[in-house]
Amino acid sequence: MKNDLLAGELVHLTAENPEVMAECFSRWNRDTEWLRFLDTDPPRLLSAKKWKEWLEKNLEKDVTDEVFFAIRTLEADTLIGFIGLFDLYQQHGDALVAIALGERKFWGNGYGTDAMRVMLRYAFNELNLRRVGLIVFEYNPRARRSYEKVGFVPEGRIRGAMQREGRRWDWLYMGILREEWLAKGIMTR
């Protein structure tokens, strides 16, 4: 039996105080390439104070359809990003996962893939979900490879869902079923 359910081989998932997360969000958001991978919103810069207020307000809510963790390296305990489950439908056992590494010097080194493996174990072994889905933009092949490595399967393509840099881009939908995750035999202990 593994003693830390929220630790992988390179990272562990943590809870952070609002002021710590706020400082990171405010800094990461100045990286517009990162924002291009993250979501569909136009870049907007918020001060660390504004982020802190927003996070504190969120803490007061009794949220049941979301799970949010920060990602820290095991090696130096550096806070490098976040991962979360959203749209968690308990009655259907389904959720969407989202992950982002704000510290770009950790890109391409397996930290995200490791964090996703930990999150899937949490989703399937702890929350007993039946499937986990995600959305990735077509211009983010690095993320797509990482998701494929942990077992996500392409499920569809929303053609021209976004308008950026003067053209339309597709969204790719991916998903992993509980049976598929169990069959992979990764981190099931």
Binding site: R131, R159, G160, A161, Q163, Y173
Partner: protein, 187 residues
Amino acid sequence: MDINILQGALVRLTAEDPETFAKAHSRWDRDSEFKRLLDSEPSSLFSVRQLTEWIQKDMEKDPPPFYLFGIRTLENDQLIGFGGLEGDIFPHGEAFAGIGIGEREVWSKGYGTDAMKVILRYAFQELNLRRVSLDVFEYNPRAIRSYEKAGFVYEGRARGYLYREGQRWDLLFMGILREEWLAKDTG
């Protein structure tokens, strides 16, 4: 100009007072087959007063979280359902369409398809959108046929997304691009 942008061949899209909408919704919600086709929430019942308050609160938001209309038949002005659009209208020109025909005696008569055509015309000619998306459950072939008739194309499926009646069901994604809609010339 001889065109009513919110009117089709069989139905028109309407603005309804919160109480009117709430009364209809409260009645439709008692039809659990309708609820099964409508969304993934557990079937539950809300009083007319509760529904009225929710609808009022949504209407007060500026901008409104969605473009929501009632659907009435042209023949006798009966309120048969609702439909509309929500989503990333700014800045990506994309929205999500939703429709529900609560009055089951008018199912399969083309009212929903006609309403969807009006919604698409509104989306592409009034809101100037680039695409419209929707999702539909695999156990709702009538809706899938209707969406195909209006011009939607199958784009993918989230396998086993729903857990109902003891088994897993897929969620199907469909979409229509502005160019496809213009080529169909259904407006």
